[in-house]
């Protein structure tokens, strides 16, 4: 086979997903540093963007594909990949509008699984691996990260209790910047690879490169640039929820949270689990609220996030399946173009909605009045 127009569409859509992945996840690394004023907001997102770029090039072992082991890649077509990406992008944009830090990885996996289901049926999905490698680790990782962050916070405050507040804050701001940088680096390494994997999969499916090929250099470069640019744009709505909404954070807590995140993400990927950075970071921030005496944790905000997490896989899958259904109903490249038009319309509407209550570097740290956090609704397909 081989349809280069369709392939180009898939590549552009994959890079768009990578971009939303970047700006959705800026907060995982930088929300705490922004909330405690360790870094000015715009410096924080620029630093994170650069480190994501570096991180994307750092790892020498580019992951095969995100889909291998989860779906039967022999049944995947370009249209399936495109529809899966549409599901991932839609969910990322919707949760960003609502200011909910949800997992970009789950959105992508969900989208691809949904479109594969629609295209080939239930036997094409490896359900056991989906649970063992994605869903169960996703449930455990925020708990582990939260425990580590709570313990770290408790230790830090015990050890540093004799310091004056100003001396303590000054010292820990430096530690905070260092640990947040590690999270940014790890994010670039982990998440940029997911899109590289998807594009490589599309190239293989299209017969452009042999099935055993690893990601070509232009794929690595373009994915690195897309995620870095997305990070630099700063998903201010998500940053605000993570930095101000969950817990009121001081800089020692910020350092504890980012250290716990970096440790859990790097260790897990060492053991072969590609976790959601978002789940880990959220768990850590919650943990650091639990670990400091007198800190108040807004459990209702946390509950809303957890609800959104439960919906991420099925909702993205529903959009992915719907997109595949529409594309195959119309058929051929025209079907994919119809999907694309719909996706652009959805993205435009969400962007327009976001401009009505803009959140940016200037108001990201405004007092939390329960505002940028509406009800978590499962996405309509």
């Amino acid at each position: 086979m081989g349809n280069d127009v369709l392939l180009a569409l898939v590549v552009v859509t994959a890079l768009s997903f990578d971009f939303t992945n970047g700006f959705h996840d800026t907060g995982n690394a930088m929300a705490t540093s922004i909330a405690t004023s360790a870094l000015p907001p715009r410096v924080a997102v620029a630093l994170s963007g650069v480190l994501n770029l570096v991180g994307a090039f750092l790892s020498l072992s580019v992951a095969a594909t995100i889909a291998s082991g989860l779906v039967d890649t022999g049944l995947v077509t370009l249209t399936v990949v495109f529809a899966g990406l549409a599901g991932g992008i839609s969910w990322n944009l919707l949760t960003w509008l609502l200011g909910i830090p949800s997992s970009s990885s789950h959105a992508l996996i969900g989208g691809v699984i949904g479109s594969t289901l629609a295209a080939a049926g239930g036997h094409a999905v490896q359900w056991h691996n989906l649970f063992a490698k994605v869903i169960i680790p996703a449930g455990l990782s925020p708990v582990v990260a939260g425990l580590v962050a709570a313990l770290g916070t408790w230790w830090i405050y015990r050890i540093s209790r004799s310091l004056s507040d100003s001396a303590r804050n000054r010292g820990f701001r430096i530690g905070q910047i260092g640990s947040a940088s590690m999270v940014s680096l790890a994010h670039g390494t982990n998440d940029a690879q997911k899109t590289m994997g998807v594009i490589t999969l599309a190239l293989i499916v299209n017969g452009t490169v042999p099935a055993t090929a690893s990601a070509p250099f232009w794929v690595i470069l373009s994915c690195a640039l897309a995620i870095s640019l997305g990070t630099y744009m700063g998903g201010w709505r998500v940053i605000r929820t993570l930095g101000k909404g969950l817990v009121e954070i001081e800089s020692p807590q910020g350092m504890a949270a980012e250290s716990a995140s970096a440790a859990v993400i790097l260790l897990s990927s060492h053991f072969g689990y590609s976790l959601s950075t978002t789940h880990v970071a959220t768990g850590s921030i919650l943990g650091t609220g639990v670990g400091r005496k007198g800190a108040s944790v807004r459990w209702n905000v946390a509950g809303r996030m957890a609800t959104a997490w439960l919906f991420t896989l099925p909702a993205a899958a529903a959009v992915g399946a719907g997109a595949y259904g529409l594309a195959s109903l119309i058929g051929g490249s025209a079907g994919v173009l119809a999907d694309l038009a719909l996706l652009i319309a959805v993205a435009g509407t969400i962007y327009w909605k976001s401009r009505q209550t803009p959140v940016g570097h200037d108001n990201v740290n405004a007092e939390w009045a329960g505002s940028v956090e509406p009800v978590a609704v499962p996405a309509a397909a």
């Binding site: 750092l58 790892s59 490698k133 455990l140 582990v144 530690g175 680096l185 250290s259 716990a260």
Partner: protein, 91 residues
């Protein structure tokens, strides 16, 4: 270490407890060490400032304090460097 076999178990308990132990060391003990370093730089701190009977407030660290602090920060930096090395060498 334990390469996930095709028929992976639902939960890899060996990997889980190793991740927990190592994450406590790297994610909680290291920041605690950083805190210890900060404290070594400012012996007494708030308490000395409050309870200086002759008006002297010993806020600066002695040579030993600076040495301890330097050691703490060096260990933290070394661990961060090792983490970056782990990323580069392919986790």
């Amino acid at each position: 270490m334990s390469a996930p076999a095709p028929a992976a178990p639902w939960v890899d308990w060996t990997a889980l407890w190793q991740i927990i132990v190592l994450a406590v060391v790297a994610g909680a003990a290291l920041p605690a060490l950083f805190a210890a370093g900060l404290r070594a730089l400012r012996p007494g701190g708030r308490r000395a400032a409050a309870a200086g009977p002759d008006g002297s407030t010993a806020v600066t660290a002695g040579l030993a304090g600076i040495g301890v602090a330097g050691l703490c920060f060096a260990v933290v930096l070394a661990a961060a460097g090792w983490g970056i090395y782990a990323i580069v060498s392919g986790a």
